[in-house]
């Protein structure tokens, strides 16, 4: 079943007024057999009988499949015939079927939040298959709890919002440009913001790309040309986000443009964060920063792309007495995991193994006499392309030596001293060039950007997705998406795939004229609120603001000047309905709709009352 498709095609009648205090509560309970799935293990007729005796229940019924067309029609008919104003379905799980039954209620003329789900299949009949009466007893309790909550349900309002059909993409690297192009080709206006004076991101600093060997500059220049040619994309270079306001559908950014020397407003329905990452510069490690022969992989790429030889002419100091004669050929030593997988950056840089192989092979191709040593902890290659790439590097004669984190390589008197774990020997390798493979780290300012957008970053400062598996390109904050190395160090193909994904996620919002925010949000009782701001302190979504409430003059002509009062106000669009604010409210002014203290307490009492 595809409830969302069904919903969009159906005509929904006008809702009846169903405030709890405006008319007596009349609850209908529908118990589903789910074929044999429930009825095979629980005594469904007994459940219906006991439901009928519960307070406010005026109708109870069982059906073979409540989610079938016939079952849904029964709900609609019963609402009309028995004048029901609350509906309880005891069947499978709200995670899959709640929208379907809510829509049935709506079609019957009820607000969709006057529905309560009782899970007697996934969390009862399927897990207590041999319990007999005890399983039925549990289901009886669960239905009693559902009915107790249903009696206290209130109709909730879903706020409708117009959507600004435009996107703002932050970061003009490969992933940002790809996302912008993708959205523009769907017909949406895009503002592409780049902090640097040029588009292109980290690819500007790379020579060739693994595993194809394609020139990075050609690829990036082609993409820049496409972006520049697209009339729907407005590019702002040397531009930084200064302020963010609004929420899904209607974000407003204040962008400072150095190019125009002024702040510019940017309006967007959605935002994609694609700020990328940069190479860690390991100043002070292995003489980096003081010895010109010690460089990073990215700096090596720069030398290789300029077609100049990265190798200084034979420039070795005298061989210490007793040491082996150095190789007569130029020697390059690469050390992997420099500044990675340690206490500060405990993650794997992901791209560095392949980058080292790529550059080692280029050096070999340029001069097969060059000796290239790669000192590694673990080789991280994977998939169909990259494992072959590793094999090719070995075939070309790149020497891989494994070191352990307990005994990292050391530079002593122009030699790299390393204990090769596999050989069981200590090696002293004289070098002409020492290349350090360091991990990508978040761009400076990522944390500030995260705070501005109220989205989380991980301990390193990489942006953190809403759910590692289910929502990998979303943020918990609606209408903001992410792609590329701002998320974690990504290979180029991954960054591009993520850009397509983020653009597709953004388009699900932009393609709607209006969006509905869930009705499950917090509500404030202004009378009880004393403006202590504890709710705002715990709100992760910035959904709570404080307004001055004008106190009316006393009708009794008391000689006291009424003072204005500060009270909380919930933005129903920004509120995600978690209910944390309701827990900390000392006066119970803040209530989590659909999970109010009254409703949960009623469920607790019903669970224990049987």
């Amino acid at each position: 079943m595809f409830p969302s498709i069904l919903q969009s095609q159906k005509q929904v009648p006008r809702e009846r007024s169903t405030e709890r205090h405006s008319e007596p509560v009349r609850i209908g309970v529908f118990v589903c057999h789910c074929g044999h799935n429930i009825a095979g293990y629980l005594d469904v007729p007994a459940l219906v009988e006991s439901a009928r005796t519960l307070p406010h229940v005026v109708f109870a019924h069982d059906s073979l499949f409540t989610c079938s067309d016939a079952g849904l029609a029964e709900i609609r008919t019963a609402i009309a015939e028995h004048n029901l104003n609350r509906v309880v379905v005891a069947s499978c799980t709200p995670r899959t079927h709640e929208p379907l039954f809510q829509t049935a209620c709506q079609e019957g003329g009820l607000n969709r939040y006057l529905f309560e789900f009782v899970n007697i299949r996934d969390q009862c009949s399927w897990v207590h298959m041999n319990e007999g009466e005890r399983a039925t007893q549990k289901a009886r309790d669960l239905i009693r709890m559902g009915v107790a909550k249903a009696a206290l349900l209130e109709p909730l309002e879903e706020v409708e919002l117009a959507v600004q059909p435009a996107a703002a993409v932050i970061g003009g690297g490969m992933s940002g440009m790809t996302a912008a192009l993708n959205l523009a080709r769907r017909g949406f206006a895009v503002t592409l913001l780049e902090r640097e004076p040029e588009l292109g991101g980290i690819l500007r600093h790379l020579n060739t790309l693994y595993p194809t060997g394609a020139k990075a500059s050609e690829l990036v220049d082609r993409q820049i040309a496409k972006v520049r040619d697209d009339p729907r994309i407005e590019v702002l270079i040397s531009a930084e986000v200064r302020e963010v306001r609004g929420s899904i559908g209607n974000y407003e950014l204040v962008v400072h443009s150095k190019q125009f020397g002024m702040d510019l407003p940017v309006q967007a329905g959605v935002i994609i964060i694609a700020t990328g990452a940069e190479e860690l510069k390991p100043v002070g490690t292995y003489g980096y920063g003081s010895d010109p022969r010690v460089i990073t992989q990215q700096e090596l790429e720069g030398l290789l792309s300029e077609n100049s030889s990265p190798l200084p002419s034979a420039n070795r100091s005298a061989v210490p007495a007793g040491a082996d004669a150095p190789s007569p050929h130029p020697t390059v030593v690469m050390i992997q995991c420099v500044g990675a997988r340690d206490e500060t950056h405990s993650y794997c840089g992901r791209t560095c193994c392949l980058t080292a192989m790529k550059n080692a092979m280029l050096l070999k191709e340029r001069n097969p006499e060059t000796e290239v040593h790669v000192l590694y902890r673990d080789i991280e290659v994977h998939g169909t392309h990259f494992e072959d790439y590793y094999a090719k590097a070995r075939e070309l004669g790149v020497i891989f030596s494994r070191y352990t984190p307990e005994e990292p390589p050391q530079v002593v008197a122009d030699r790299v001293i390393v204990y090769d774990e596999l050989l069981g020997m200590r090696l002293g390798i004289p070098y002409d060039l020492l290349v350090l493979s360091t991990p990508m780290v978040p761009r400076p300012g990522a944390r500030q950007l995260a705070q501005m957008f109220k989205v989380p970053v991980d301990e390193y400062g990489f942006f953190l997705e809403a759910h590692v598996k289910l929502r990998p390109l979303d943020f918990a904050t609606d209408g903001i998406y992410l792609c590329g190395s701002a998320h974690w160090p990504a290979h180029l193909d991954e960054a591009i795939s993520q850009a397509y994904g983020a653009a597709a996620r953004a388009a699900t919002i932009l393609s709607k004229e209006q969006i509905r925010a869930s009705g499950v949000v917090a509500h404030v009782d202004e009378y009880l609120c004393r403006g202590c701001e504890r709710c705002a302190d715990v709100c992760e979504f910035g959904a709570i603001e404080f307004i001055e409430l004008e106190r009316k003059a006393s009708p009794f002509n008391l000689p006291i000047q009424p003072a204005n009062r500060k009270v909380a106000q919930v933005n129903p669009v920004m509120c995600k309905g978690c209910g944390a604010c309701a827990v900390v409210c000392p006066t119970c002014a803040m209530q989590a709709a659909h999970f109010s203290s009254e409703q949960v307490t009623a469920m607790i009492q019903a669970a224990l009352g049987g």
């Binding site: 897990v127 207590h128 007893q137 709890m145 978690c578 309701a582 999970f595 607790i604 669970a607």
Partner: protein, 149 residues
């Protein structure tokens, strides 16, 4: 007390633990029918009041479940749950209720077996503790009252 069947109120967050409990069902993993699950949007919604209300009302155990730390759908709701559960726990002593009757666990949407294991294990633990002392006390008082009259 061999046939004592404890009653446990279990709070499950909508995004992880409730889904984990569903997965136990889909996988047909069997566990004792001792829990009564209350779905909340976030483990951070479980007020210490709910926990105390359950134990005051006679629950033999209270289980609060949420997403693993770092995985919360609402960013930090489960961290708030740690605080709220500990606040409730600190009050249990005053009520004369063993702190082992209250448990906080992280169960992801992929951990159906873990949900079942925790219910099984917690049921055993509560069974060893016996009935909620507040309920036992009430029964005792009623019996004494009956003798007096």
């Amino acid at each position: 007390m061999d046939n004592f069947q404890p009653k446990i109120i279990a709070f499950a967050c909508n995004w992880c633990s409730y889904a984990g409990a569903d997965l136990a069902g889909v996988s047909r993993i069997q566990y004792p029918p001792t829990t009564r699950v209350i779905r909340v949007m976030c483990s951070g919604r479980v007020s210490p009041m709910f926990i105390l209300e359950a134990l005051r009302g006679g629950a033999d155990g209270v289980l609060v479940t949420g997403c693993h730390l770092g995985d919360c759908h609402y960013i930090s709701g489960n961290e708030k749950a740690v605080h709220n559960v500990e606040m409730a726990r600190s009050l249990l002593g005053l009520l004369g209720i063993e702190s082992q009757r209250l448990r906080l666990e992280w169960i992801s949407a992929a951990e159906g077996a873990r949900f079942a294991d925790i219910v099984r294990e917690f049921t055993e633990q509560v069974r060893e503790l016996g009935a909620n002392p507040l309920v036992a006390e009430q029964k005792h008082t009623v019996r004494e009252g009956a003798t007096l009259s």
